[in-house]
């Protein structure tokens, strides 16, 4: 089924209206030498029932948080999402619309994005936010590009404790530009303010610190950003987790100028890593340098509140090569999802979610640390993820847990996390979804393999 609707009889009538005898003239602009005259080598067309069968079958060949207990984090977290979000987001009026270019025909999306911007700005503790970027890593890269652009400087300091993929993407994004990327080494799983200070100079455009960082550790944002600000104009970029922001001091509270992060924890399905949604907030002075769509509140011809895309002169379709970013299609539906999620959870719900993450993670960390042979790798404060050094290679532990249908965590030693950890390190994340019984079951597995 190719979802076309024009019948052969209608096609004939339409060709007649066009004045063409058949379809060939309509493709006449393609020189015969360039025509593809074969059959594309694709599987035979599938009916909907066959699609249902084959996709169910393919999905059945996957195992993960849907049929196992998940302690994996590493930048993507298994949070609760209320069903109403899943159902509202499927409404065709949202699903099948595009970027709200025409304000009067798109007030629904525009108002929701305006709500999103406000919610993100508040979670970041900053003045303004955009209507989404692709995902966390590119959001960080865009933040750095904005800082370079605003300051005209050529040096970027990034904590080595950034999520491995975020660092990797940042490297890619800066690689063809006349810019130096300096990694700030960590000490005990965190970057010391003194380290920032030691690396600062007048050409430093930005200092990028993530908290919770790749180890789950809470960084000293205030200290690091104070150090950054010792050179006027340097942009302090906080990479943040929106759930943590509901409990802990936010980027803006700690002196950040720009905050970027992954919005996946806000009701977005894990979905093997995407589509997710990039969060981007900043202080007011960056308004005209922001990447991505911005929705503004205005009035209509009769003075009624109205919303529209604004400051489009920053964007590629107006400014071309001088645009603040090349982004066009962003992650609209995920931003809507996050908006609905934040509204549904609300002020106390988000706070409670964050608190539960914190308390549960600390319960599990406490129990594991008490096991013979296991120790927390770092001793700094953490939110909902922590690293454990195990008495044997973590691959053995992960395999043993799998047999109990538990995803014990992530091995930061592996390629997928940039190979940052030791072979016995295990990164464990705990969300509000985990129960005490599930945590105790993991402890049992570890205990059996311990000593």
């Amino acid at each position: 089924m190719d979802y076309t609707q024009i019948t052969p009889r209608e096609q004939t009538a339409m060709l007649e209206a066009i004045g063409a005898d058949n379809m060939e003239p309509l493709f006449g602009a393609i020189p015969e030498t360039l025509r593809f005259r074969g059959d594309l080598d694709l599987p035979p067309a599938r009916s909907e029932l066959e699609l249902q069968r084959d996709l169910t079958e393919m999905a059945a060949h996957n195992h993960g948080p849907h049929d196992m207990v998940c302690f994996m984090g590493g930048g993507a977290y298994d949070h609760f999402c209320p069903v109403l979000v899943d159902q509202l987001i499927m409404r065709g009026e949202f699903l099948t619309a595009y970027t709200p270019y025409q304000a009067e025909a798109s007030q629904g999306a525009l108002q929701a994005f305006f709500e999103f911007q406000t919610q993100v700005a508040r979670l970041a503790g900053l003045d303004i936010a955009n209507a989404s970027l692709y995902e966390g890593a590119t959001a960080v890269a865009e933040a750095v590009l904005m800082a370079l652009n605003v300051t005209g400087r050529r040096r970027v300091l990034a904590a080595a404790t950034l999520h491995a993929d975020y660092l990797a993407v940042l490297r890619t994004y800066l690689s063809d530009l006349p810019v130096e990327l300096v990694e700030l080494p960590a000490d005990g799983g965190r970057v010391a303010a003194a380290t920032v200070r030691a690396h600062m100079d007048a050409d430093t455009a930005a200092v990028v610190v993530q908290s919770p960082n790749v180890w789950g550790q809470l960084e000293d944002w205030s200290g690091c950003f104070d150090a950054a600000h010792e050179f006027e104009g340097t942009c302090a970029i906080a990479v943040f987790n929106p759930i943590a922001s509901a409990l802990l001091k936010r980027p803006g509270d700690c002196g950040a100028d720009i905050a970027a992060g992954e919005g996946q924890p806000l009701g977005v399905p894990l979905s093997l890593g995407g589509p997710y949604v990039g969060l981007f907030a900043a202080r007011k002075r960056f308004l005209r340098k922001m990447p991505g769509r911005l929705i503004g509140r205005t009035v209509d011809a009769e003075g009624r509140p109205a919303y529209c895309l604004t400051l489009q002169t920053r964007e590629q379709h107006i400014r071309g090569a001088k645009a603040t970013s090349n982004i066009c299609t962003n992650q609209g539906l995920l931003a809507l999802r996050a908006t609905m999620f934040m509204t549904a959870m609300g002020k106390s719900g988000l706070r409670e979610m964050a608190e539960q993450c914190y308390h549960k993670a600390h319960y599990l960390a406490g129990r594991i640390a008490a096991l013979e042979g296991y120790a927390l790798t770092f001793d700094g404060p953490f939110f909902h993820e922590f690293c454990v050094t195990c008495p044997r290679p973590v691959t053995e532990i992960v395999e043993a847990a799998k047999r109990r249908r538990i995803l014990a965590g992530i091995a930061p030693h592996g390629r997928r996390m940039g190979g940052i950890g030791g072979p016995n390190d295990l990164l464990v994340a705990v969300t509000e979804k985990r129960t005490r019984a599930e945590m105790d079951a993991l402890v049992d597995v570890l205990e059996e393999l311990g000593g």
């Binding site: 020189p31 996709l55 619309a97 802990l248 001091k249 002020k347 308390h359």
Partner: protein, 510 residues
């Protein structure tokens, strides 16, 4: 509309109405922040089943001022917002260059299957063999459709695909000791993302003139000469181009570019017009991106998510971003993360997986014949609309009598109507009153509408659109000033975009 028009395809979804119409007032939907009532909450959580731990000294903040609404009001709020939005489901949405086709719901069902939607991105390859098969097959599909040897599913959208591909091209040249190739040529009608992507990877973009809607090959030659063939990295074209025309001379353009040692990049936004009819690799392109949200019907979602996979000749393979999905000799699938010459990562994890589930389902539903039929019906529909409207809405590049057809979309510059004293915006806003989403405006040329009906609309819908456009033309003849009032039957009257930009309010402050 009269019964003939009313019998049209998107006749009316006038919904539950609110407000006091006799007073001519139009209701306003307050923001969630305005509706907020302290103490309300939409959803609860289980009681905490572990002891409370001490909170870290000095790191704890105040609860964030999120909205406080009960569950029913949350449902009502977003239901109301949905009623204030045009969509493909409810409206004809001929937004040129965006391919707003029907979005099959079986694809949504598939992406929401727990065995797809709940996969953590760092699971071991052996735990996600079904997902990796889907990605691998999608990669193969795209290679076959484009005629290329390789494809990468990493990029998150078309613009990101452009960026990624340009990085790959630069890496290729660096590897071949031609790092000086920093200039990218692109027609002056290029989509804004093309030059913007160049800038982001440190390339300099130079505009090539277009003439009669086509890239001017003389200007292309001239510019190559002017900047020196050895400094040219690539020519970025769109074909069918952004004027809705297939460029017959694309082969020649490819030759010119290749002669200079540069690469031909194809912006595949308009692939819908040529599926199964011609393949980018066959007409000389070296690298391209697809927009799955255009060509392969992954929903546009108010502006994403999409995906911008790239396809290319084998010579670029070593430089593609990581990870790459591969099939092993034993038929199992894996993610190759170790590619020494790779440009590295362009986003976290492994891409817009959920989007590819829909993409796979769409291509699998169509099959080879279906995809070809998609192109045929898309082109047929655009030419039909153009033919029926050309007398009233002038089309600079459409002249069937002279054998000049459009591809899947057409451009009109309705000069005669504009000369009556209306603006293009007036026409667009009036379309909203008729339930039609306005086409793309002022691109690729000023004062134009770019109309792309796609292949999934019925003839009934197309005919309805023709009637609407003719009716608007009549209204302009009769009373051009009235159009300045449009829209008169939308949730708001015309939005003041100038005020929005002059005094930007980007977040709500009570």
């Amino acid at each position: 509309m009269t019964s003939v028009m009313g019998a049209g395809p998107t006749p009316m979804n006038r919904p539950p109405q609110h407000g006091a119409p006799t007073q001519g007032e139009r209701p306003v939907e307050p923001l969630v922040f305005e509706k907020s009532v302290p103490g309300q909450r939409g959803v609860d959580l289980p009681p905490l089943d572990v002891p409370r731990a001490d909170l870290p000294d000095g790191l704890v903040g105040e609860p964030v001022a999120m909205p406080e609404l009960g569950q029913h009001d949350v449902m009502a709020h977003y239901t109301h917002l949905s009623h204030r939005n045009f969509s493909v489901d409810a409206n004809f949405y001929p937004l040129g260059s965006c391919t707003m086709k029907h979005n099959p719901r079986v694809n949504e069902w598939a992406a929401a299957l727990p065995g797809f939607a709940q996969l953590h991105p760092l699971l071991d390859d052996e735990q996600i063999q079904g997902a990796l098969r889907l990605l691998y097959e999608t990669r193969c599909f795209l290679q076959e459709i484009s005629g290329f040897d390789e494809a990468s599913l990493q990029p998150a959208a078309g613009a990101h695909g452009e960026y990624t591909a340009l990085k790959v091209i630069r890496a290729f040249f660096r590897h071949h000791d031609q790092e000086q190739r920093r200039i990218v040529l692109a027609p002056d009608t290029a989509h804004g993302t093309n030059p913007a992507s160049c800038t982001m990877c440190g390339a300099n973009v130079v505009a090539v003139r277009t003439q009669d809607g086509y890239t001017d090959l003389d200007d292309l030659r001239r510019l190559i000469d002017e900047h020196g063939p050895r400094n040219i990295a690539a020519l970025m074209i769109t074909n069918p181009n952004t004027s809705g025309l297939f460029d017959s001379k694309v082969g020649e353009a490819a030759d010119i570019v290749h002669e200079a040692g540069a690469k031909l990049y194809l912006d595949g936004a308009n692939m819908n017009a040529i599926l199964g009819k011609t393949r980018p690799a066959d007409f000389g392109a070296d690298v391209m991106h697809f927009n799955t949200h255009k060509t392969f019907s992954t929903p546009h979602g108010c502006g994403g998510p999409g995906a911008g996979p790239i396809a290319c000749r084998a010579e670029f393979s070593p430089f593609l971003p990581v990870p790459q999905v591969m099939m092993a000799d034993d038929g199992s699938f894996y993610l190759d993360r170790d590619r020494a010459q790779s440009i590295g990562k362009v986003r976290s994890f492994i891409g817009q997986f959920g989007v590819y589930v829909r993409c796979w389902a769409y291509i699998s539903a169509c099959g080879a014949d279906g995809l070809t039929n998609v192109a045929e019906k898309a082109v047929l529909s655009a030419n039909y609309l153009a033919a029926r409207l050309a007398d009233v809405y002038e089309m600079p590049w459409f002249d069937p009598a002279a054998g000049r057809y459009c591809a899947h979309e057409f451009v009109t510059v309705p000069r005669r109507l504009l000369d009556k004293g209306v603006t293009l915006n007036d026409i667009a806003k009036r379309m909203i009153d008729y339930g039609v989403h306005p086409p793309t405006m002022h691109w690729p040329v000023h004062d134009c509408l770019m109309v792309e009906p796609t292949e999934t609309e019925s003839k009934r819908t197309l005919d309805h659109f023709v009637e609407v456009m003719l009716r608007i033309a009549e209204e302009i003849e009769r009373d051009p000033e009235s159009l300045g009032e449009a829209p008169s039957d939308a949730p708001i009257r015309r939005a003041d975009e100038v005020a929005a930009a002059r005094n930007p309010v980007i977040v709500w402050e009570a």
